[in-house]
Symmetry: C2
Subunit: 120 residues, 2 copies
């Protein structure tokens, strides 16, 4: 099962959610990203990676922060990878992860609230 992200609607995207209704395709794409962030462990992993010095973190930097087995961390990293939020690169014995800042920026832009409408 090839899990490459097909980036269709998201490319033409990112007028804020509150400005005009999302198309079904946009909603599907965005929901995939939000689902990847819908678990506390994955959110912390994402944050640990994004905020780590040098912009990348080794898996070995991450596992210690959780009371979970290595396979579980690996599973969550895979979900983050397949969502397109992060990439992993093997260098020798270790695997280093870094975030895709454009994806974060895109999500942030989508969530910007629209201007207030005057209450009736």
């Amino acid at each position: 099962m090839p899990k490459q992200l097909p980036l269709t609607d998201l490319d033409a995207c990112c007028s804020p959610l509150a400005r005009e209704p999302l198309s079904e395709g946009q909603a599907v794409e965005l929901s995939r990203l939000f689902k990847a962030m819908s678990d506390p462990v994955r959110l912390r992993l994402l944050s640990l990676i994004a905020s780590h010095a040098g912009g990348e973190a080794c898996v070995c930097d991450l596992t210690g922060a959780f009371d979970l087995t290595a396979p579980t961390i690996s599973h969550h990293l895979k979900v983050l990878r397949e969502s397109g939020l992060v990439t992993g690169e093997r260098r020798g014995t270790w695997v280093y992860y870094r975030v895709h800042p454009e994806v974060l920026a895109r999500l942030s832009a989508v969530l910007v609230p629209g201007e207030e409408t005057v209450p009736a």
Copy 2:
């Protein structure tokens, strides 16, 4: 960090995800919001409500946009309500939903990517 209000981590929150690691509590709170947005139907509902004229939408304005039964729409609206993203108010026969813009703004702020670090 001043802790004035008796609420959760989200109140004291919102340094961007990429700036420093999320606390476990912050991650739990945020993951609840992202989970509420992790379904395409709920995302479109949220967008329909947020972008609707007057800042609010009647359930009757929403159901027509989907090939789903009324109970299913109602279920999704409940999830959005319980997450704190929207509120519903009954006025006569109809129920009107509106978004909490502060919550959207908070999420948007959390996702702002950190400044680029110079590649090695």
